[in-house]
């Protein structure tokens, strides 16, 4: 059987989980994404001491606490700059970023554009549930304009939704894919591919919020694999996105841009200067 991997078993997926019990609502899609992270890390035989998962704020952004690798729970919307800074100074680490559509496309929206442009070798996984889960159900940038269940937008947002894959492609992301939490193994595969692809990799995972968007439980009936192989041609990828209904899953684009490298060796004295200027050291 050709798919047998020759890589040696080191750690099992559950070895990448921490002892913290998730406080997500039972049924939340983020449980499956957590499992996908651990499966991808195990399949890639990543050494936990050489992995960092950075997040912002939101239900989805709690993921680093549930993993047994280095993690940083940054402020809302700022996970990407933290992760980019880390990767630039520690290129030996595998750096992943995790968060929600609110964290990544509202308050963190501009960082998303710049991260795609800059093309640092990190992987960004957005658990998209088209709502702010943590703050109890307000519309996010990916919410459909006619969703009226929030008291803040009783007539719907009536504004155009944000299309993450289109924006990622237009801004220069080097790897673009969509996965579904209904298929944790498929999501693990996409995350592993994204990590292995050089440059900035973006993965949108459709991950239902069963509390504030209970209708999203039905996503499992709608998602389906895209019937095409990934392309390296942005024009072909753009044409495919024209007929995308947001429920095709798979890898859309694998570009060939060289990842950004700072060209400067990290300097310990910069950290010292920063600490002094913030009054952290004498």
């Amino acid at each position: 059987m050709e798919q047998l991997s020759t890589r040696q078993a080191a750690l099992k997926p559950k070895d990448y989980k921490s002892d913290n019990k998730p406080v997500w609502c039972p049924g939340c899609g983020d449980f499956s994404v957590l499992s996908a992270f651990t499966k991808a890390m195990s399949a890639m035989t990543l050494d936990p001491e050489r992995v960092a998962v950075i997040s912002g704020i939101g239900c989805s952004s709690r993921i680093p606490a549930y993993l047994n690798v280095y993690g940083f729970h940054a402020v809302h919307g700022r996970a990407l700059p933290v992760a980019i800074g880390l990767k630039i100074t520690r290129p030996d680490l595998t750096v992943l970023v995790a968060g929600g559509d609110g964290d990544g496309f509202s308050i963190g929206g501009n960082h998303f554009l710049q991260a795609c442009r800059r093309n640092v070798d990190i992987t960004y996984v957005v658990m998209d549930n088209q709502v702010y889960g943590m703050t109890k159900g307000q519309a996010s940038p990916t919410t459909a304009p006619d969703w009226m269940r929030s008291k803040l937008t009783p007539h719907g947002t009536r504004i155009n939704p944000f299309y993450p894959l289109v924006i990622a492609l237009a801004s220069g992301a080097n790897f673009i894919a969509r996965a579904s939490s209904n298929d944790p193994n498929g999501t693990a595969r996409v995350i592993a591919e994204a990590v292995e692809h050089p440059g900035f990799s973006f993965v949108q995972v459709l991950s239902p919020c069963v509390t504030f968007r209970p209708e999203q439980r039905d996503w499992k009936k709608i998602v389906r694999p895209a019937p095409v192989a990934p392309t390296a041609d942005p024009a072909v990828a753009a044409r495919r996105l024209m007929t995308d209904d947001n429920f095709f899953i798979g890898t859309l684009f694998k570009g060939g841009r060289a990842p950004f490298e700072s060209g400067f060796a990290p300097r310990a004295e910069v950290a010292g200067e920063l600490e002094r200027s913030f009054g952290l050291t004498a």
Partner: protein, 170 residues
């Protein structure tokens, strides 16, 4: 099931099925513990223990021969998910033991069908015999879970209505 033709390939798949089932039930038990549904938490914890026991028995069957390592997405389950894994979106904090056991029942049924398909397939005779034994065992589990569920009443019509919801749309 095109790629499951030998005993080791079969055992590698069976082990993944049982380990995934054990892991899911452990996650569900934690969910119910965190959301204060102790009866269903105990039930899922017991299922996690049973599936884990089954996984360890499969490991013993493989003896000294290491099982092939297969990436999680490369298994040949005939479906994206392993047959005995309950969907992550299937749980609810107010679910009753009857509902929880309904999920378990379906999972055991899917596992029995999966092993039976291999037993009826055209792999090595020794492997097909083993698959038939596994299918019998899963069918026995189906009956046991059905009896277990019979001890509980079906849920009331508005079982998911919470007069004091922890999360309310704002």
């Amino acid at each position: 099931m095109k790629t499951i033709t030998t005993r080791v390939e079969f055992l590698a798949h069976a082990l993944a099925i049982e380990e995934e089932a054990a892991e899911r039930y452990a996650v569900f038990a934690d969910q119910m513990q965190v959301t204060n549904n102790p009866e269903v938490a105990t039930l899922f914890r017991e299922m996690a223990r049973l599936e884990d026991e089954h996984a360890r028995r499969i490991e013993e069957m493989s003896g000294d021969k290491p099982l092939p390592r297969i990436d999680p997405w490369a298994f040949d389950f005939g479906d994206a998910e392993p047959p005995e894994a309950v969907d992550y979106t299937a749980t609810h904090y107010l679910m009753t033991p009857y509902q929880a056991l309904g999920l378990v029942l379906n999972a055991e049924q899917r596992a029995a069908e999966f092993f039976q398909r291999i037993a009826d397939g055209d792999g090595e005779a020794d492997m097909r015999r083993l698959a038939a034994e596994f299918a019998d065992e899963e069918r026995e589990h189906v009956e046991r879970v059905r009896r277990w569920r019979g001890k509980y009443p079906p849920p009331e019509p508005h079982w998911d209505e919470d007069p004091d919801p922890p999360n309310e749309l704002e």
